[in-house]
């Protein structure tokens, strides 16, 4: 499991637009670099990111090798109701890492 940092407010007013910052530890190997033997290091990047709010898709990103290592993505969402915000990252091998953060809306 890669290390993940997610920054979002624990509580928000109903209808408030909140900022969400996410970062996941990942080398984002481009496939263009050469290893010590001169052979290209195979590509290994996170190519998809998805955020759902109580099961509803809020934000999605498709990433390419031009995204820096340890992909950092910030975006906004409207705090509609209390519940769970789920973040998932999928890499080139099809492995997905999922993180859940609760939010309280008053």
């Amino acid at each position: 499991m890669a290390r993940v940092l997610i920054n979002l407010p624990a509580r928000a007013a109903r209808g408030e637009i909140i900022e969400i910052k996410t970062l996941i530890a990942h080398p984002m190997e481009t496939g263009h670099r050469l290893g010590p033997t001169g052979a290209a290091i195979p590509r290994d990047i996170i190519n998809r990111f998805l955020c759902t709010y109580n099961g509803e898709e809020v934000f999605r990103a498709e990433l390419f090798p031009a995204i820096a290592a340890n992909p950092f993505i910030t975006f906004f969402t409207v705090a509609t109701e209390s519940g769970e915000i789920v973040f998932s990252w999928t890499d080139d091998h099809g492995q997905t890492q999922t993180e859940v953060r609760p939010i309280t809306v008053e």
Binding site: T30, V58, A66, F76
Partner: protein
């Protein structure tokens, strides 16, 4: 001295040429190499890409092309009737023209994203926003890179 042009068509030709040169005719990606142009064309199809509404923020000079902070903000109310559905980021000189695609909708409340990108060379970066009415808006930024990404490998 009262000199009249001996050939009236010459003046006409010159005027026409000057007019064409000044015409705001060039699409935003006109100067870009073929790969980025082609990727943008694939995205927008026959639609025209208008300048404005999108704000692409990048540092004008970066020392390290391996992590370049990038922010895109689109001027949109993000309501059900009028919102941004996608933000596409392209670059000119990396091995691939695409940098990232962000899919959003009225649920985000505010059409703004930030990330960190890699730049292999001094080049132009283009952000294109697609709105729910099918229109495309763009902004571009020129970045000078002193240490390129991908060189240390």
């Amino acid at each position: 001295m009262d000199q009249r042009s001996p050939d009236p068509t010459r003046r006409l030709v010159l005027l026409t040429a000057a007019g064409l040169g000044l015409a705001p005719f060039a699409p935003p990606a006109a100067a870009a190499p073929a790969a980025m142009d082609e990727a943008i064309r694939t995205l927008v199809g026959a639609a025209t890409v208008k300048r404005g509404r999108v704000k692409l923020e990048l540092p004008p000079i970066v020392e390290n092309g391996n992590t370049v902070p990038l922010t895109v903000t689109v001027d949109s109310p993000m309501s059900e009737a009028d919102h941004v559905t996608g933000i596409h980021i392209f670059n000119e000189k990396n091995p691939q023209p695409y940098v990232a695609v962000f899919a959003l909708g009225p649920r985000v409340g505010k059409a703004a994203i930030s990330t960190r990108i890699r730049l292999a060379d001094t080049q132009q970066v283009v952000a294109i926003a697609r709105l729910n009415d099918g229109s495309f808006w763009s902004d571009s930024a020129d970045v000078i890179v002193t240490l390129a990404a991908c060189v240390e490998g």
